[in-house]
Symmetry: C2
């Protein structure tokens, strides 16, 4: 067995590089087809051992089709090879939830037809590699990029297909000698926790990196990782057996909420590649079944790994959990693993076996299997680094996984090749999914706050997130910021202890007001808005999908730090509330700002009465509104202006406002209009003028 390492995209001559790319492509295509040769008969291609995935025939065609679809998209070819196949094999179902069964029926083609199709694709890609414009370095914009992308994509499916084969009935596979497993096994070694010194971990790759990367690897992030201890070995079947025998699969206390749902749904009682038999547990490798090798790593999903940690915490009295991504990277440093690309020094990249091997073979200082053997689950849901952007040819590779439902695995397995077998690779799967994945546990001082950080695809939240924290359109300055600037300027030398941003939406002006006020409360009726504002405060970051056109979206990350207001986060407090019926603690303000609120409440009069009571004497009330009165928000009888009054005379909202406030307030300056733009799609926007009315409380 052998797998070429991922290519350096910058060195050597153009002709050398062309030759290397051809070899790398052929290596990938051949290895992939070789893997499928382990299937006992054509019938095996149509089995679905994993109900959440297509049968293997799909994946057999899929990696070839991927080349063609990306090459069409990149306009490198203008004629499809087999439009029917290229639709049929286009979209997998890997991202389905485990409680979301796929009942669709497909009419799959014959294996020989797909093999013939693969042959056509092989020739087309080879021709293209020979003829395409090429200069070095190869980067995101190079015409060669989609070819490399196709190869790396196939290498991912080499691994995932090997997992599906491992899940097939043993009668469906045959050991043809090309994919030999490790022959050795023995007693499980006793595990131990070894200290890892805390340090700053820096990760993320630059856009001019030497090697191919998926979008999520680029950018950078720094984190100060505290001291922790990491287990010497990844958890072996033997070590995990204590949990199974302790009734771990029957005790819901060990499982996280999502884990319990998975456990109840699947009725699992032991790891998926274990087989209960009269003579004890057997073990399923990709092609064989044999007695459980106690010193090999256990293959589990995140839920099982986490349940084991919880069990161990209980029995040890220590805080045991999985490492974070950065703890894993820190461990890698401490263990002296420095390679960027891994090959035969670990059980990785098919350099040793078509299976795991004992957990006490591959040593790096005091630890084993820091890299290779099995992937290691982490506590970290995948997230975008600073500077993240999608590649235009594969804009949905990562962003759908920024949902807090996909956890990162690190280190690679025996069949991780190409980009997978690199320090910088970042692969994330749903927590219930199976790969050749196990885990190492750590003992830490502090629990990891499980990241409940969702990315926002709610249209209104997305629009407002962009409105508050995103780009400017038609050269109209950010309205939330301009509003706060206006308030601060009007407020002048008055006391500035406490301000209220009433109807704060997703919170930008609350933060901006806090550049001047000691404390600012942001209140909105929408819990969804407040949740977004709160995310920005707590994490300094929000994520959302912008609608571009129809169903097409683009992913956005916005950070408080990029706006220069990260220091205000501890001066604001967000709360959900009814502006017309505020809780008693919201009072004693030096300034109350209501941005685009008054024409969206059920009783503007009640609102004004409410805020009047909450404002300090001499304090400012700033009311900004386009006065777009609509019955759907405010019954006609409650409108404040915008109609002919009982004397039949025109009553503008500007006048009505002053009239209602008259007993307790004096107008400070003439009304002023400030524009704002809310982006709806990449071409459609609302462009509105909000009139700012400033009053001082007598």
């Amino acid at each position: 067995m052998y797998a070429m390492s991922t290519l350096n995209l910058r060195n050597g001559s153009v002709e050398q590089k062309r030759q290397q790319i051809k070899e790398y492509f052929i290596d990938s295509f051949n290895t992939y087809e070789s893997l499928f040769s382990c299937l006992d008969s054509d019938n095996a291609y149509y089995e679905r051992p994993e109900k959440l995935r297509h049968p293997l025939i799909f994946y057999f065609g899929h990696t070839a089709t991927f080349f063609i679809n990306k090459l069409v998209l990149a306009k490198l070819i203008n004629k499809r090879i087999n439009p029917h196949f290229e639709s049929l094999f286009a979209i997998g179902v890997d991202e389905m939830s485990w409680d979301d069964l796929n009942d669709e029926n497909y009419e799959w083609p014959q294996v020989s037809e797909v093999m013939e199709y693969r042959q056509q694709v092989r020739e087309a890609v080879l021709t293209l590699i020979d003829t395409i414009d090429l200069s070095l370095p190869i980067d995101w914009n190079s015409k060669m990029w989609p070819i490399i992308m196709g190869i790396e994509h196939e290498r991912i499916h080499l691994e995932t297909s090997s997992v599906l084969i491992r899940q097939l009935d043993i009668a469906c596979v045959s050991d043809n000698g090309a994919w030999p497993r490790c022959p050795d096994s023995g007693e499980a070694p006793k595990n131990a926790l070894i200290p890892v010194e805390g340090a700053v971990v820096t990760t993320g790759k630059p856009f001019d990196a030497d090697y191919y990367g998926w979008d999520n690897e680029y950018g950078n992030v720094q984190e100060n990782v505290a001291d922790f201890k990491a287990s010497r070995f990844v958890v072996s079947n033997g070590e995990f057996l204590t949990f199974v025998e302790a009734g771990g699969y029957q005790n819901p206390d060990y499982w996280e909420e999502e884990g319990n749902r998975w456990r109840e749904y699947t009725q699992a009682t032991h790891p998926v590649f274990w087989i209960k038999s009269d003579s004890g547990y057997l073990y399923r490798s990709m092609l064989e079944t044999f007695p459980l090798p106690l010193d090999w790593p256990v293959d589990v999903n995140y839920h099982e790994a986490k349940a084991f940690c919880n069990y161990l915490s209980e029995t040890s009295g220590d805080l045991i959990r999985l490492p974070t991504e950065n703890e894993w990277l820190r461990l890698r440093e401490q263990a002296g693993v420095t390679q960027n690309v891994y090959s035969d020094e670990f059980n990785i990249a098919l350099s040793k076996f078509a299976s795991s091997e004992p957990v006490n073979i591959n040593q790096s200082k005091e630890w084993f299997d820091v890299v290779g053997n099995v992937w290691q689950w982490t506590e970290t849901p995948i997230y975008p680094f600073d500077g993240f952007k999608v590649h235009p040819l594969y804009d949905d590779f990562t962003t759908p996984t920024f949902d807090n439902k996909h956890n990162l695995m690190k280190g690679g397995s025996w069949i991780s090749t190409g980009n997978e077998a690199m320090k910088e690779s970042r692969y994330a799967f749903r927590r219930h999914f199976f790969q050749h994945a196990g885990f190492r546990y750590v003992k830490a001082e502090h629990p990891i706050l499980v990241n409940d950080f969702d990315y926002e695809s709610d249209t209104q939240i997305s629009q407002y997130s962009e409105f508050h924290y995103g780009d400017e359109y038609f050269a109209v300055p950010n309205f939330a910021k301009a509003s706060a600037r206006f308030c601060i300027e009007q407020h002048g030398e008055r006391p500035h202890k406490k301000a209220l941003d009433l109807g704060c939406a997703v919170g930008r002006s609350t933060f901006e007001l806090a550049t001047h006020f000691d404390h600012v409360d942001g209140i909105d009726f929408s819990a969804r808005f407040i949740k977004t504002a709160f995310s920005m405060q707590e994490r300094g970051e929000i994520r959302y999908n912008l609608i571009e056109e129809g169903e097409l979206t683009s992913f956005k990350v916005r950070k408080l730090s990029a706006l220069g207001i990260e220091n205000t986060a501890d001066k604001v407090a967000f709360a959900q509330g009814d502006a017309c019926n505020l809780k008693p603690q919201f009072s004693g303000y030096d300034l109350i700002f209501m941005g685009n609120l008054i024409d969206r409440v059920y009783s503007p009069r009640k609102l004004l009465q409410e805020v009047s009571e909450r404002l300090n004497k001499g304090g400012l009330l700033v009311i900004a509104s386009p006065f777009t009165w609509l019955e759907e928000y405010t019954q006609r009888a409650e409108w404040l202006g915008g109609f002919k009054d009982e004397n039949g005379e025109t009553l503008s909202s500007t006048e009505a406002l002053a009239a209602v406030l008259e007993p307790d307030f004096a107008r400070v300056s003439s009304p002023k209009e400030i524009p704002f733009v809310i982006r709806e799609t990449k071409r459609k926007h609302q462009h509105t003028l909000s009139e700012f009315n400033v009053f001082e409380k007598r």
Copy 2:
């Protein structure tokens, strides 16, 4: 009896003017109160002889309240005298339709209370006249303007109240000698038609005119009036009697459709101020009942006057109708009436009697009663002159009457005073209303096309009318014009016989394309849009109400001539039609433009197929769209791009368009975005980019 003439607002000294205004105010207030002294008892104030109007107590308070309401609005006073009265007496019901009864109950105050209130208002206004800033000339912006407005307003109600008193039961009125009627009557003189030479009539007053005017009098208009003949006398009771006796009120053939509805509703059998008695018809003047004076003018509404003309047409074989406003003005010139302000040379302005007098007294050359005695109905619904704008203190004086339901009356009656007794005055009433109004008839070559010209208050039509023909917002150039310019530029030297503007909405780009093409068809699915486009073509003008804020609107008139494209009106044709299923005659085009259409049809593919068949070889197809796909217009399965395609790849609408058109079209230039703004309120707008895609038919 005596009434002061309306004041010259420009001559003399400030102190003289103050004095004159006081006198004019007192004259008005006194005359008004004197009129009400004709009521026999306080009870008469609460009678409602005309179900469509408030009782007289309302009008007694109303003219005083009007001063206060306008002075508050003008911020000349900041404290109301009696807020309850000023709401109660604010809004009349004059504008109600005759089939729209008012059942509301009012709690009216005592007459003495209202009299006391009038006294307070009198003092307040007199104080204000003494103290207000005053410089000459007095114009729209002067602080004195609302005072003059209040006086002129009261003079209108002097006349309308006299009509209501005339409609009261005779027992409710008493002749106290102050309001004497004409004592003379006799046989009706035989009428005759006297030729009037055609000429250009120019009318409308400048904003620096010498005398007070209502908004509708300003601006200017010119019309070439053709030769016609005008009756020597206004129609007398005697002349009208022939119609009554010929069964005119029972014969629906003489009546216009609206007239028949009025006739059937009221069951009228003779003029309203005639009373059928055993000894023949009696006549009701304001305060008396006596045998029908056959030589006095008949008092009728428009419907009755028009029915008489239709009867006379039938019996004479001539085309008899009412004069237009401009025919009346032409007659006035020909009759040598040159005064701008009328007084004692006619039976007008209370200079002679508190009633009509015989029709053969007041002679001007060959005609009688060109001015005074009774108002004369015209065929002309009131319309705005070029340059029309509303006065901000009374923005609903005229604009609600630009609805084709209010016809102009000219010449004034015996009780028309102030601005009413002027050449330039323009008063319009619903066609079923009664004033001291009769008519003169004319014989003309051509019938008047009854103006079915409504002003548009439909929100969408208003928005699109402004979008196509109105102002520019945010400095974004007119989109319909820019679209047409773009099409013409792209079209270059190709044949330019025939173009199609598909989805033309209210038609601006159709006209603009016709600056280059010999003929342009404009087609839209909306009959309401096409009606507006057609109005612009036929009349060169459209009218609509723009939403400002809430229910507040402003009135707009837009003319093709002001846009410099009046010459295109005979090169365009508008039709209602389904763009996805065009009628066969719409073909053979050199250019087809579809502006913001493709994402609003049920089948974009069918649309493209349709237009492809209608375009000449070598012709251009210009498709402009923001590609805002929405299920409410286009089912998801019909979208053209804006989603991930069957290969899972991003398919933009720009690409999808080219792909669908590929067999028959070649793309001519790169897509280009052109912005547009649709105004929704005075502060809220849609601001969108439309992408222009140009294809040439192979």
